[in-house]
């Protein structure tokens, strides 16, 4: 009953490795979008312009309270009804980027709240502009306390990329599933997928901790 076939394993491995590239690309692109967009979301919530802060706040809550897979479907299948036709990759990146941007904006918010009030006051007393205050004084100090949360979501987005398979992005899960459908063998492809995810997630988490320490040292806050 436990019928593991090594020859089959090695035969499908190259295909899965190529797909791993796609998974990493999807996670990387999605995360890059999320990192930048998340910052925009948190900064928008701190402007004195009330309507904007309320709308962004509610949007973030909405995204965080609904499933990612629904958001992926929504962008991909509902978009065309409004004339927005996107490729699976584009739709997927928008959906997953937006989803994680909402989460990261909350991480940043926590990081920003870690910066003592006195830092804002010192920046003001030196007459620094708002932009300069954020980018040179506050955000660098908000970064170290945000890194652990950011790292969690990096691993999180990586593990969530299989959801993109539902709209046909040829990442790991999609490829393993395709191999299964073609050969009626699911044990090896899905096991390999699990091992590949594990082999990437574990070292990533460790690297993030090293990176955190490095950033603190670099900022003289070690």
């Amino acid at each position: 009953m436990f019928d593991w076939r090594w020859d089959f394993t090695f035969q499908i491995l190259p295909r899965l490795i190529v797909a791993t590239g796609n998974t990493l690309l999807a996670a990387g692109l999605g995360y890059a979008i999320a990192v930048v967009l998340g910052l925009a979301l948190v900064l928008a919530q701190r402007t004195p312009f009330r309507p904007l802060t309320v709308v962004v706040r509610e949007a973030v809550e909405f995204i965080r309270s609904t499933p990612l897979v629904l958001q992926i479907f929504f962008v991909f299948y509902v978009g065309p009804q409004f004339g927005i036709r996107l490729s699976p990759w584009t739709a997927g990146m928008i959906a997953i980027g937006l989803h994680y941007a909402a989460y990261l904006s909350e991480v940043y918010r926590g990081g920003l709240e870690c910066v003592p009030k006195g830092q804002w006051e010192a920046a003001k007393s030196l007459n620094l502009s708002t932009a300069r205050t954020y980018f040179r004084v506050i955000l660098p100090q908000a970064l170290p306390p945000s890194l652990a949360g950011m790292g969690n979501y990096l691993v999180g987005i990586f593990k969530d990329t299989p959801m993109l398979s539902v709209i046909g992005v040829a990442e790991l899960m999609h490829t393993a599933n395709a191999i299964g459908s073609e050969t009626y063998r699911f044990l090896e492809p899905f096991t390999l997928v699990g091992i590949i995810f594990l082999c990437i997630s574990l070292p990533t988490a460790a690297l993030i901790r090293l990176f955190e320490a490095w950033v603190r040292r670099k900022l003289g806050m070690g």
């Binding site: 003001k124 007393s125 030196l126 004084v137 003289g220 806050m221």
Partner: protein, 273 residues
């Protein structure tokens, strides 16, 4: 919210004896708690005024309002003859907008109880940030000036250290250099020795003594170091309940306080030290 009509206040203060800093009927309250009650206080150019008083008497608020870290509820503050909290518009005074406040803020520098140095910048970078990015100085010029100021406060050899590697007294000296690098006309010292270990208080007070002796800066200081205040101040203001209860020269106020509350406060402070 303005609780007083500002139309009675002049658009600017003019004439020979225009004070560098002038509080006119300034009121500050948090809800029903009145922190400052119709405060009138003038500080002449080059004058060193020290504010003393029990906690909650509004001393720190005076400095924070001058630095525009707090808004005011009534009255007008003038700096260098121009309104700080308001600006002239259509023949009257209206609330200062951001631009006006940035312009006026450039005349004022402040040192804080907890230093508030930027922890991710070296001592030198702390002193260059404002001059380069606010005053628009060339990096080289800003660097030379920052080095001069750090040398003045005795921190030249620590210029490449981050604040976390410096003692409290050292951090406060860097903070003084950082504020001076902006070339303010008015310097504010808000309990700058309160967070320091007793043995390093002297290194900070000596820097301030030197500033008083060698520069014509207008200074306002809040402190609990009575001896220090007595030594270097031109005038002492004793605050009580959001008002100036009594003011005068250090000799008058410390040697011969007239009001009962002043006497009580001074004897309580004496007992504690």
């Amino acid at each position: 919210m303005d609780t007083t009509d500002v139309s009675a206040f002049p658009l600017r203060l003019e004439g020979e004896a225009t004070p560098m800093v002038s509080f006119k009927k300034v009121t500050k309250s948090y809800g029903s708690l009145v922190v400052l009650d119709s405060l009138d206080l003038d500080v002449a150019e080059g004058e060193m005024v020290t504010i003393i008083g029990p906690s909650g008497s509004g001393k720190t608020t005076v400095l924070r309002m001058l630095m525009t870290l707090e808004t005011i509820n009534g009255g007008v503050i003038y700096v260098d003859g121009e309104p700080l909290t308001h600006m002239p518009r259509g023949g009257g005074l209206v609330r200062a907008d951001n631009r006006h406040m940035r312009k006026m803020r450039s005349k004022i520098g402040m040192c804080f109880q907890h230093f508030n140095l930027f922890p991710h910048m070296t001592a030198l970078e702390n002193c260059m940030e404002g001059p380069v990015h606010v005053l628009g100085l060339a990096k080289r010029e800003a660097r030379e000036r920052a080095e001069e100021l750090l040398a003045m406060v005795g921190m030249a050899d620590k210029r490449d250290q981050h604040p976390s590697r410096l003692s409290g007294g050292q951090q406060q000296r860097v903070a003084i250099a950082r504020a001076l690098a902006m070339r303010p006309k008015v310097m504010l010292f808000d309990e700058v020795t309160s967070a320091l270990d007793p043995e390093v208080i002297g290194e900070v007070t000596n820097v301030i003594r030197q500033l008083v002796a060698e520069h014509n800066l207008t200074m306002l200081m809040v402190t609990h170091q009575m001896g220090f205040a007595k030594d270097i101040s031109d005038r002492i203001c004793f605050f009580y309940g959001g008002r100036i209860e009594e003011q005068g020269s250090p000799d008058e106020l410390f040697g011969n306080p007239r009001k009962e509350r002043t006497q009580q406060f001074l004897s309580a402070v004496k007992e504690a030290t």
